[in-house]
Symmetry: C2
Subunit: 546 residues, 2 copies
């Protein structure tokens, strides 16, 4: 063993010397990748435990995975074997009569940084430094009027992310299962590449030995790499298709449990957060279909401890920028951000986005007509596509039922919905009551499964008036409008929901309700005939004269 | 290619001939396992698509994973390449001017059982036969009085499962990640073994070439095997530790989506259900700890379509038997059953268990004292440990507050809690209102995360009076009582909850409340000092004189 270690250490020294010499002579290039030594130590399972128990071999067999001596209380033979096993460690040579370690033990204990709790190799938070984050505001898109122009939110974020990668060449990595470009973050390849230890091969694109992008078509491997990287005190972001991040559910559980437990240990310094950016989400899987439609990762994450978990659903490009700036600064959380990569409407200027994200939710004045009065209905939304459908429904209501007082509320930080007793981000009850009212119908257009909103809000006043639309596991390869139609989240359905729920509207506006029912069927028929949504739906813009 | 197939088919024939001869001469033993031929066909990715696009190679490179010609609308060159590509299939030779297949095509189409929809290899439901299920009643345990004796539920089930395996030697398999014995199902090894294609090696236990138990320490592999086995028209059961089944979350998603979609295809016959028995559950991880404590798989499964998903929490041995008989008979569902392996109290005789499981939930008359009157409080429970704690709390209430009218309700079939509009098993509102009342406090002791019960019941009358206790992500390596204590699910806490919630009790019974607070702290101190729970807690039995 000693010889194997000596050989390995000598080889490492030699590799390092050769690389440094090569780098000195070749402008910093360390030359070909050396073969690092690997020491393989194989020991029998249960090596130091009882060799046989009750006549059956234990050490080196599958039986060593169980409790080897299970009848210690009742079986004198087992008790004797246990005694012999424990005595084999010769505790009397290690501890004095008073139970304290002997001087020989104390003289050999690790000191200072070699102690486990003080060693930065096992307590990465000790050496963690904040990321150098360039000002995201300069990457914000101009929004002359809300709901007029379009951008791809993840593309806009990708431009800023390129600057983040460039500003933190040794402390930040991007992880993804072959989806960095598909999720529109390819701007990072302007300043770095995908890392391949053996370097690029013919036909490779953006592949470098020193790349900061870790791409491999295995969510498990990405997750494991990122967890390990965070443990060294550095920072990272995992980008994935929304549906497939469930692959790492079990690994996220264990990391969240680790974060929860280590938060209670005073000596263990916080790590950078475990950050997810989920794009290519449930509502825009036009050419993939039902297998790619699952918004349930956020349902999974919110079962973990509230002080650890955060979920954000920025509705447009500028709110995504502000959200990502926040999560990359945060510590010791699991942050899940869901955002679209397709062209989507811009609603907020970058300054408005900062205010909105800092609040976590808020009323959009330009979409509401309840100034100074109690609203007749609250239209709430979370997520980019639900926000678009909720706004389009609001436009119909504002135009066709101008006497109806509508309050429009968008939620970015989902945990604001929980009471403060349940989550640190929870909105105070008075604030919640003021915003959502305690007695008016609230129609909530939600990115994920509707039950998640109910699960977060069931303690709130007026919960019996809350009606949530979201993904109800209806999907296929189809157009964007047909997806929201199938799941009853479309603008026309939302208008019908308002007519059904605001007292008095139903009887008077049966005509408008029927128009809406006909409109959604006509839109679907158009999609099935032409393969595309009608222009008046896909081309929706917010009318500034409303 | 033709030659490779010929060679493979010849080798298969030769292997079969040799095995049959050997079997004839050796009492049915087919001899050593032959090496079956494997044909490996490697083709470049995108082989038949455009070779180069815009000067970049596509076929055989990573670019073939994307849309190869993405600018067909705007780029004449792309359009021309698309035309050439599609024309390469020579559709004019396959279809006539009217668009119908030519006679040559029609003459070569598969007929009868060779059609994909009619081929039992792709439509296993066509050849599926029901399992031969021996009468589980004869395996039921005697229950002279409720809450007096104890059994390990999964052990009792294991004895019946042995008979199921024996009665269905070619159509049933048990799958598990090295946990069949740990989950106390080892009785199956009386009649079969773990399958190993190469047969047993020295030191192996219960390993056979023809074993019906598929054990491998990979939940992914077990899941994949079972899905494939079900697709052939046969039956299976996956047994796992509750916490680790999250490893297959993503695979379950896809199978559930497949079940949902194929249910809509008239020609596709239903398969046997995908059945899970989760044991070694969150509440009894005494020597494992926090990493093994996660009841959230049922949260995950209920996000899938209601007509596909079923969740059962049998509280004792006889209800587990009745539940498993039901799920093994069912078709085209994902059934999740959670049950304990440790010694637990028996509550219901086998006949009572059948009635209780058929109802899916019910009032336990012997634990209630609300005959003919409105209860002051409903104590509800689901899961073995919550049932035990709820009963122990009821015993305290019955003894110390005899004037309090308590209704005790146990839930086996969790989906009974949802309204019938949301799930086919949903209890009618009138029945729900009668059982749970619309205006009395309901205290629900739940196996999993409390939010799951709220998510299922938020539409029910009286939901604002429903208070749920369950796992709130507090755990460690500790005693059974300390686990329920940490999560506020213990009997003393439940009594305090009743005192806090039944109007008028709090002021009058501050003394009993304080006794309960002291009792839970004393029990915890005892566990920390001795490593075991106090005998009066671990030895709880239902007092028949109450």
């Amino acid at each position: 063993m000693a010889q194997a270690l000596d050989t390995a250490l000598d080889t490492i020294s030699e590799n390092q010397r050769a690389a440094r010499e090569h780098a000195a002579a070749h402008d910093g290039d360390p030359g070909d990748r050396p073969r690092w030594p690997v020491v393989v130590l194989r020991t029998p399972k249960g090596w130091t435990g009882p060799h046989d128990v009750d006549g059956e071999p234990v050490a080196g067999t599958w039986r060593a995975h169980q409790v080897p001596l299970s009848e210690v209380r009742s079986d004198e033979g087992h008790r004797e074997q246990l005694r012999a096993w424990l005595e084999s460690y010769r505790a009397e040579e290690l501890f004095g009569d008073d139970g304290a370690p002997t001087d020989a033990v104390l003289a050999n204990r690790p000191r200072d940084e070699r102690r486990m709790s003080a060693n930065p190799r096992t307590n990465g938070g000790l050496v963690k430094k904040p990321l150098r984050l360039p000002d995201f505001r300069s990457h914000g898109v101009d929004v002359p009027r809300p709901g007029e122009q379009m951008h791809s939110p993840t593309s806009v974020f990708g431009d800023w992310l390129r600057d983040v990668v460039a500003a933190n060449p040794e402390t930040f990595r991007l992880f993804g299962p072959d989806e960095v470009a598909s999720n529109r973050l390819q701007a990072v390849f302007d300043v770095t590449g995908r890392q391949l230890a053996d370097g690029p091969r013919e036909g490779d694109s953006h592949v470098r030995r020193d790349g900061r992008v870790m791409e491999v078509l295995s969510e498990h491997l990405c997750q494991g790499w990122l967890e390990g990287y965070l443990l060294t005190g550095r920072h990272g972001l995992f980008t994935s298709y929304e549906a497939f991040i469930h692959i790492v559910d079990s690994m996220v559980n264990q990391h969240a449990k680790w974060l929860k437990t280590t938060r209670q240990l005073a000596w263990r310094r916080p790590l950078a957060s475990l950050n997810y950016l989920l794009s290519s989400h449930v509502w825009r899987q036009d050419h993939n279909g039902f297998s790619h439609q699952d918004p349930g990762f956020i349902d999974h994450v919110v079962t973990k401890k509230a002080e650890i978990t955060r979920v954000y659903l920025p509705p447009d490009a500028n709110t995504l920028l502000s959200t990502m700036d926040h999560v990359l600064r945060s510590e010791h959380y699991v942050n899940v951000v869901v955002a679209g990569k397709q062209q989507a409407l811009d609603y907020l200027t970058v300054d408005e986005a900062v205010a909105h994200c800092t609040r976590g939710l808020g009323r959009w004045a330009w979409a509401s007509n309840d100034d100074g009065v109690e609203p007749d209905v609250v239209i709430a939304c979370a997520g980019d596509i639900p926000t678009q459908e909720a706004l389009a429904a609001t436009a119909v209501l504002r135009e066709r039922l101008p006497e109806l007082r509508v309050r429009f509320v968008n939620v970015v930080d989902l945990m604001r919905l929980q009471p403060p007793s349940e989550h640190p981000h929870g909105l105070a009850d008075r604030e919640y009551d003021a915003l959502f009212t305690t007695d008016r119908p609230v129609l909530f257009a939600f990115h994920g499964y509707p039950t998640l909103v109910h699960r977060l809000t069931y303690r709130r006043n007026g919960h019996q008036n809350l009606h949530v639309r979201g993904f109800v596991e209806e999907g296929t390869t189809t157009t964007p409008f047909d997806m929201v139609h199938r799941n009853d989240l479309d603008r026309f359905r939302l208008v019908m929901d308002v007519i059904d729920r605001v007292p008095g509207l139903g009887v008077r506006h049966a005509g408008l309700r029927q128009e809406m029912a006909d409109a959604r069927l006509a839109a679907r028929a158009h999609a099935y005939e032409t393969g595309e949504d009608p222009e008046e739906i896909s081309g929706f813009r917010w009318d500034p004269t409303l």
